[in-house]
Amino acid sequence: MPEREDLLTAYRRCGGDEGALADAETPHLLALGHAILSMREVSGLEVQTSVADDGITAEVVLHEDVRLNRPLHLCFGVLHAEGMQRITMRIHLKKHASAQIVAHCVFPEARKVQHIMNAMIELEAGAEMRYAETHFHGPYGGIEVLPKAMVRLGDRARYSADFTLLEGRVGALGLDYEVTAGAESIAELSARIFGHGRDVIALREKVVLNGENARGLIKTRIALEGEASAEVTGITEGNAAGARGHVDCTEVVRDKAIAKAVPIVHVTHPLAKVTHEAAIGSVDKKQLETLMAHGLSPEEAVDMIVKGILR
């Protein structure tokens, strides 16, 4: 199937592990446009899909107490210059289930592409999910990406999500994640994005700490150059005793890039505590001079600092 090979080529290019897709013990789901190319379930993990003209629906269920030994690999993309991909995904981890999900979204030739993802994620009590999503959009910037996720965490659940878009152009990105956290649960959202040209980045990440002693962290690292722009809204609500949240945003700008950060902290319980920090500007002068004093050129020093921030 030539489409599959093309998708795998793009998948490899953005760091995907092709061997994992061939491994009979490793679950995966491959979708190109609105077609499912390949899928594998493993014991305790159910994946159901349906395809319609206007998109794909996938439902992932991990049964109680099941701990996936190997990550569930997801690979989505559009390989042509023009196209559309709309995915609706429901992920449900039952009590004390544990999974790592590794997603790659590849659009290597995108000139007029739209990718829309609507995810609903539920983690029951004691469940744990680590989600890492890496995007590759190619060099043209002709793509609009709209990932949206609503996440609900039961008591003592742990959820971490890491969104990465560092290679190629971003295009237009409108990311909208919201997590509601139960008692003793932990939510960590991180995003690392490098914008170039006229890329437009809008992030809205929200953590609502409704349970006692719930913990939340929103960490955003963005580097911008050219005429790229970014607006980051990090919202944390502390609504229960012992809830602790933190919003941490760093944006480094060069050239004519424009960055904006809007940290919003909202506390409705006297024993909750939410903090925020945001730093926007050019590369830190003292960092730059320290590396230059080690013999790096200004360009090398800036490159190293930016790569470090995005690492």
Binding site: D284, K286, E289, T290, A293, H294, G295, R311
Partner: protein, 271 residues
């Protein structure tokens, strides 16, 4: 190393006693025919309305450890930034000579390529840069662990950590010293290398400073702690924007502690 046994000092003859001109103690390199690894000639520098340096002259010989004493706010760190060529720290007048050549117009990177480096009083933190990468910045194949050992850090515990705010001030300081050692500089300015490091490790710092010299570097050791200055080959005191005394570390620290500086009587000084 005593001042009269400096090897290959390009004919340097390090003055080993204090000298004076009038009421102000001063450096007397020329009358001894000395040439310096680093020489500051009559440097002046203003920050806004404040005169920080005013005719500051100093010479540091090859493989010499030269302690620069001075009270808080007297301009020691400013002098370090001027030597390194940091932005906003170009002297208003005077010359900086390195191995006999004026380097006033060179930027930081160019000075670093000549073999000049410095360690900051408060080293900056870096997100996403490992200790291993930081220590081996200019020489990726170097054994970063060996430099960590020299500063008293266990490579197994530190090489994979990040040079970020998870490190304590003392740990960060030691890593800065290790990274400077790994550069094998010809000249290094150490700006208060002992600050933030526990007293029990004081002797470790002394050994590290000697390592620079053993690796062939000249050292300008900025401190306001007389006990650290005593390990130097020579010492000077900065006050009122000038070097007011140069001589043996013992003599200069005695002078410093006795607050004998004549300039202090003439200019505003934090002493």
């Amino acid at each position: 190393m005593s001042s009269d046994t400096l090897p290959d000092a390009a004919n340097a003859s390090i003055p080993d006693t204090m000298t004076s001109e009038g009421s102000v103690w001063s450096l007397s390199d020329n009358q001894h025919g000395a040439t310096w690894m680093l020489e500051l000639k009559n440097l002046s520098f203003r920050a806004g309305d404040r005169r920080i340096l005013d005719g500051c002259s100093l010479g540091v010989g090859q493989q010499e450890i030269h302690a620069l004493l001075g009270t808080n706010g007297v301009g020691k760190s400013t002098l370090a930034y001027i030597i390194m060529g940091c932005e906003g720290y170009r002297p208003d007048s005077g010359d900086i000579l390195f191995a006999g050549k004026v380097i006033n117009e060179l930027g930081i990177s160019d000075r670093a390529r000549l073999g000049i480096t410095m360690t900051w009083q408060e080293p900056v933190r870096f997100e996403g840069i490992s200790v291993r990468d930081y220590v081996s910045l200019r020489n990726p194949s170097c054994d970063a662990g060996s430099y960590l050992r020299l500063v008293g850090l266990d490579p197994d515990r530190y090489l994979c950590r990040m040079v970020d705010r998870c490190l304590s001030g003392g740990e960060r300081k030691r890593i800065e010293l290790a990274s400077a050692l790994a550069l094998h500089p010809r000249f290094v300015v150490l700006d208060e290398p002992d600050s933030g490091i526990d007293m029990l490790s004081f002797n470790d710092i002394v050994l590290v400073i000697r390592q620079f010299r053993d690796h062939g570097a000249s050292v300008l050791l900025i401190t306001h702690r007389p006990e650290l200055a005593l390990m130097a080959d020579r010492a000077s005191q900065l006050c009122g924007g000038r070097i007011v005394v140069t001589g043996t570390p013992q003599d200069v620290t005695d002078f410093f502690l006795a607050k004998n500086c004549a300039v202090c009587a003439e200019v505003v000084c934090d002493a």
